[in-house]
Symmetry: C3
Subunit: 338 residues, 3 copies
């Protein structure tokens, strides 16, 4: 099984075997981080990172990943590209992708809700790049999915629950209030991949904060395929019952988009009222001594209390570190000389 | 013959022998791209890239070039430099160049028409840097010239016409309409270098879109020196007759600058009316089954039709790739350990 | 004595023995710049550079330093980080520092007066990062100190006066007029470190341009400890008498900050009137044929005349080059595999 040349827009597009291969390599890369074992995998190769949206973790971890494999990641912002849009002359995606394929071994792209006119346009742009590019396109988070985060989440559960023990464990993905009107991408990716790896999934959120119905449907099917449970809850407290892992995160209401625009101020006002929706020590007591995780950056005091985020069951920094390892593994397998 | 330490502002400043040495190395570097042959040429050395203007290709290809030679290119934007100007206190070019020479093995600069008060000021700035710098200054495109593009063009013709077959072949450089009010630099460089390498040159454009008379004069002399033909045409159709290579490109009218400023809106209005000036399949039929080239990014539908740009005689992606190879060769010969 | 893991916010926090170790290594790294001796010290490691303020020298020299040691420095601007502030939701320093420690071997930070509400807040921010980070925090210049510049200054004096000859030599640090309202950091660091290394220190400036009293006090004590002289002068001419090294620099009046804001226009107006305060050939005649230095970039015609800055006793470019060497030494000792 070779993954060379494969695009990665969502983990759901890859087989369980392929994802497992990435994770196993990520685990080995963590252990061998400073040995020479993987030091030449991207030797003198260039990876392009396109940031339509700014980023903390993602830029740092992708650029470090390329460096640790012996290559180099270029930080590119599309505002400096004269790309064709409906309003202005410029280069087509066809031309941009074809030329970039001559220079780079792979292309990462990040484009979230606030940079597109409607949910799904980010996914469409990545598909357009994937159509023309001769080298792998890797999502660095887009409006619908965030495959690298999803893989880092699973690597974190392997670390803390044990690789063989995910089956039948309850993952609670719970909405948190706050002023950030966040993307759906991380939570949707986590639902999809956690259910592939055998977990029971409960998604809890206030009425109206529904996610993409197609993603919910796919997660259900993932669960059904192996006899796992899938549940949607609107109870900010009881949903914690029996959880083994709690993953809290703010995300925006589907109505944030209307009339072709994102209405962030409206959404912040709505979300900030829902103060019951915070992961705190009281609620964590209802769980099976659950681990706490979050894709970071965390909005402390809204999504989660300081006590939980900095508590001894929090695995947030390990999961953040895993971003580096899974990204190295993805680059190595799809773009590198292994 | 050593090129170590030599500045490159325009190919016309270098001998034919020197340019040939660069191209021969570029061809070898293309073949040996992933072997160790050139892996240490810029080992741990730093190349500075100054972008007064943003760029797609140029930044990507220079940064990748440094990486592939074992070095690193820093992406620098002068807005973050406190340089002295007529209006504000700051550092002189003398001081900036002298200090940068202590850190870097070479300095690339990109400054186009819209960042200067009048045509020629970009060239003057590069000459000022070259005066003070102890390391090579390389143009990454400036208002008058674009030597790396010119070399990449010739490498493309070597690839597709055969190195020995350029002599007496007709290169048509033809103006294209569009809304981009482009620099003269690429087309002027191509006229100069193509005539050095033995081609007959026809430059075709609407009345009034004259280029720099000094460059036209130098191109004529280049042609006369070896008995080649030089022609200026204002016919958007018949100029194609007998061409072996067609190079289409928009460029701005000389009047775009007046009263010390660039008047882009005026120029776009003027240029967009000249819709006869597009390279399309009909016109290409008049040629000797010509190759199609363009320095990219292309403004499809204005400079060239989709059919020609994506057609089987188009060599645009190969020429774009050559930017990488010639830039590696230039860096290796002027800054590297060869 | 190991420096591994140590933060560097100010040279005063380190022992003389530790600083000497850095300088000795910097001298050796200058000699061995292109040999393999230090080529693997940061092999494939990542250093983060946070620029709250833009920079010329600092970015160039730190990024080149990492490259020359086999690693890579990422250029990061906090505007692209969603950090928590009084006004907006975002990530805490605790979380940012903890995660960055998983990716990088060290973190550099630059934050000057105009990015903080009051003098000292930059120092407080660096201390907050140092509190949470598991990897070294290195100041790349902040409102109070600039340790890398101070070390580069001393390396320059070692080069030109001789390492054994600093004792009892007079260093004049003299204010220069100009429109830049510069930070106190470089001059304060130089006072502290020069007095540690045995020099007599005279600080000369117009009435009212007092520096941080705590730094003045510490410099006095440094001098007293070894029987050296410390002097404050308000004479723009006689202060030159007997100097062995003259260091001119503009800095802002303490009143530039009031009502929680920086009032730059006021300060520029005040400073530009004090035209006696320029280091020129006439004044240099009063010295013991002193060397001239400056942390750069220089504001020629205000801080210093062209004749002095470009004269044969000027060591400005050597000192600027030393930034590279001391930074490599600091990174090697605190973050590297030595």
């Amino acid at each position: 099984m070779s993954l060379k040349g494969k695009h990665l827009l969502c983990t759901q597009d890859w087989s369980l075997e392929e994802l497992t291969k990435v994770l196993e390599l990520a685990v080995d890369m963590k252990n061998e981080r400073w040995t020479d074992k993987y030091a030449k995998v991207l030797d003198r190769k260039t990876f392009f990172m396109f940031f339509y949206n700014p980023s903390v973790r993602t830029r740092q971890s992708f650029e470090a990943a390329a460096t640790e494999l012996g290559g180099h990641a270029q930080f590119l912002e599309p505002k400096s590209m004269r790309l064709k849009t409906k309003k202005s002359a410029g280069e087509t995606v066809e031309d941009a992708a074809k030329v970039m394929s001559r220079y780079a071994c792979g292309i990462g792209m990040r484009i979230l809700e606030d940079k597109v006119g409607a949910y799904g346009e980010g996914q469409a742009l990545l598909e357009e790049y994937a159509k023309w590019s001769d080298v792998p396109i890797v999502s660095m988070a887009h409006d619908t999915f965030h495959p690298c985060q999803g893989l880092a989440d699973v690597q974190g559960m392997w670390q803390h629950l044990g690789r063989e023990n995910l089956k039948g464990k309850k993952l609670l993905q719970v909405w948190g209030h706050g002023a950030l009107a966040r993307s759906w991408c991380s939570v949707q990716e986590s639902m999809l991949i956690s259910s592939r790896f055998g977990m029971d999934v409960t998604v809890a959120y206030p009425e109206g904060y529904d996610l993409d119905p197609k993603v919910v449907e796919a997660t259900k099917k993932n669960c059904e395929a192996n006899g796992q449970k899938f549940e949607i809850s609107h109870d900010p407290v009881e949903s914690y019952d029996g959880a083994h892992v709690v993953y809290s995160r703010n995300w925006m209401h589907a109505d944030t988009y209307h009339d072709g625009e994102m209405h962030k101020a409206e959404e912040v006002e709505r979300a900030m009222k829902l103060t019951d929706w915070i992961c705190d020590e009281e609620k964590m007591k209802r769980t099976e001594n659950a681990f706490y995780t979050h894709p970071m950056p965390i909005d402390r005091g809204h999504e989660v209390s300081d006590g939980v985020a900095s508590g001894d069951r929090s695995i947030i920094y390990d999961v953040a570190e895993n971003r580096l390892h899974v990204q190295k593994a993805i680059m190595a397998l799809t773009m590198g000389d292994m």
